[in-house]
Symmetry: C2
Subunit: 410 residues, 2 copies
């Protein structure tokens, strides 16, 4: 991975010291930092000896329990022959549940029920429904915190259980068993995924090039969070379609908070974009709209595809001969560079770029850890608790009241 800022920023040395001390301290109780170095042999063994007749792994999970695995799986799927399909049941929309169920064969499927707390309403509602269709314990594997009610249930029925450490939050859990188990079962090389993450971790904590870059990038976002309150991630490949959704959750849910030492609501709003498609959708707003957005480009250095535009001239369309003989991979690179340069010409839009090597596990591991670290740094600088989400409780409380009222009226 290469990464480069097109704006000037230098974190002050006193702030720098304090920030690094905080991050050092966080590592004692925030679990995601050490995930690249975990022992994953239980996951690998489980995947290796898994029933070969199972064709589909269906994840019943939502938010942090699905977005990470989905991002990695959908990134690799178009280029890698994977062993099993991954499916995600993430909605209570009955139309969606029905059409998802129609497209899998339950007899050839295995369900991973994933909920950190074990009491996620959507997950439990869907699980109950599917369990009523087939209640054999071998059909299910459960991932939850040790001792949660879901974990106790799984133990009671004698199903396989995996545990997510309490110190790893849902949106930071893709490199834990939550993401690794479905990925390993589908045939993704999770060892390589962790290797990529390790590279970024090493570079950051051992004074590699990524350290100053991330510190300065975080500093810029934090210092200017009231001006550039929107951060766009403009990824130039369809393979990153779900990665940007993972980023939206990570960024939005981590950084949209009440400040710890003030009365203020703060937050950086994430927007995920895919190029070149969204040049035809969102670029106009970036170029000419309110100056409230920073833009990060993600590009792929080597698409490993030789597909090219044929060298044919069509009557009346001779203007398009400029494209003849151009590889699509070169075209898309030129497109992202053209947009980047056009935005730089404006002079008042903060731009940076990330170039990953290719579409493989290690590159995705790098991207994931890069964004997790960046999120932690910004969170610390804008004085929020990066790892909680108290704002979602009110909705849950009201839903519970509605369900109780409904039951009473029955």
């Amino acid at each position: 991975m290469k990464s480069r800022l097109h704006f000037d920023e230098q974190l002050l040395s006193r702030e720098r010291k304090r920030l690094l001390e905080q991050i050092e301290k966080e590592q004692e109780h925030i679990g995601y930092y050490s995930l690249p170095n975990q022992d994953i042999s239980p996951i690998l063994e489980f995947a290796q000896s898994f029933d070969d007749t199972i064709e589909t792994i269906a994840v019943i999970g939502i938010g942090g329990s699905s977005l990470g695995a989905k991002a990695v799986y959908e990134f690799l799927r178009p280029v890698k022959k994977l062993k099993r399909r991954l499916y995600f049941f993430e909605s209570t929309d009955p139309i969606n549940i029905e059409s998802q169920l129609e497209s899998i064969d339950i007899e050839k499927s295995h369900f991973l029920v994933i909920s950190k707390s074990g009491t996620t309403v959507e997950t439990m509602a869907i699980f109950k429904y599917i369990y009523s269709l087939d209640s054999s314990r071998d059909r299910f594997t459960f991932i939850s915190e040790e001792g949660s009610k879901l974990d106790q249930f799984a133990q009671k029925i004698g199903a396989t259980r995996f545990h997510l450490q309490e110190s790893v939050g849902g949106r930071f859990s893709v490199l834990s068993v939550v993401g690794l188990l479905p990925l390993a079962l589908s045939g993704v090389d999770v060892v390589e995924l962790l290797k990529g993450a390790s590279r970024i971790k090493e570079s950051f904590f051992n004074d590699g090039y990524i350290k100053e870059l991330l510190l300065n990038k975080a500093s810029f976002y934090a210092k200017n969070h009231a001006i550039y309150n929107i951060n766009c991630l403009f990824a130039y490949s369809e393979t990153l379609r779900y990665f940007i959704q993972w980023y939206v959750q990570l960024w939005g849910e981590s950084l949209g908070k009440k400040q710890r030492h003030s009365a203020f609501n703060v937050g950086l709003t994430p927007i995920g974009l895919i190029g070149p498609k969204d040049q035809h959708s969102f670029l106009q707003l970036i170029m000419e709209g309110t100056r409230d957005k920073s833009i990060s480009f993600i590009e792929i250095a080597d698409f490993q595809k030789s597909l090219e535009i044929p060298d044919i001239s069509l009557p009346h369309l001779e203007d398009m001969d400029l494209l003849n003989g151009v590889k699509f991979s070169d075209l898309i690179s030129m497109q992202s560079q053209s947009v980047l340069e056009a935005l730089l010409e404006e002079g008042d839009i903060p731009i940076d770029e990330i170039v990953i090597d290719r579409v493989d596990e290690a590159s995705m591991g790098e991207l994931i850890y890069y964004y997790e670290l960046l999120t932690s740094l910004v969170g610390e600088l804008i004085d929020v608790n990066t790892y909680d989400q108290p704002g979602v409780e009110a909705g849950k409380r009201i839903l519970k009241e509605k369900l109780e009222k409904r039951k009473k009226n029955d």
Copy 2:
């Protein structure tokens, strides 16, 4: 459709008069207003007599040439047995082009090449590639402005052509031949789609209930555009996944502009969300983040599905028995209402809601026209040209320079 604002707003009568006069005047040169009343018999006849051996309609188009048809098609697909699949080639990403081509049988496919100007780089690059694989003219139908270079080419090779009127902009073209042709070929009832749009049009222009509602909603967004510069559309059904992408283009590209009579960059930033999934991703930021967002809910009144959570009690999970016997359609409604009430409790987040009757063509037609009108109203009030997109030209110019330079170096 029902629609309701949870904030107080009253457009001043002088402004109201001026705005309505402007919209009246716009109808003379902005084509989308009259699309609900157009004669679509050529489209219907073409679809009716279309080759039965064709199983896949592949749209080669990007932005306004694909987002609308995709929104409607993906909305209906899970509930309606459609005659043909729709595919969309929207990217120059070589990985994407290859995997899309692998999943269709060219012999059983028909390609719709859609570009208003006829010179869209992405569309022409993909078209050239596919044309080099199969250059029989019967394999393609072309939709472009009459007399464009693409139209001239299509005429030259003797292929079928349809024309988009110059007065209909790409992002307002879903109810023109651009959206209707692929939809009619796939088996969507486009007559019903237009009927839905007509209902909203009638209600607005003949003093129906939608008129004051849209005027006041537009007034609120425009007046507060510097405070609530982000508009979130929170749609509670997976079927609306692509509708929100269509909305993002419509809103962002129409309203992100330099003002006509000032030196300022203005813009309202659209964000599309899907419930309940994004409760686990974006809700925290809305609840506790910076107060820069308005939220519009879209709900479906009748999912027409009886799927329910089974009445079973599981050991250790008895807390979840509250869900027993609840229909999923009731659960998702309770979820959206719970989030809406939680946000209202905050007191400083502007909320409104739209309830469509069901997942069918007429409801989608209503939604489309509702948002088109709202966009026109807000654009007029914040003093931008709603219908152009000058900001995307710089990137195109730079790309052309890069391609020319490359050619010279060859």
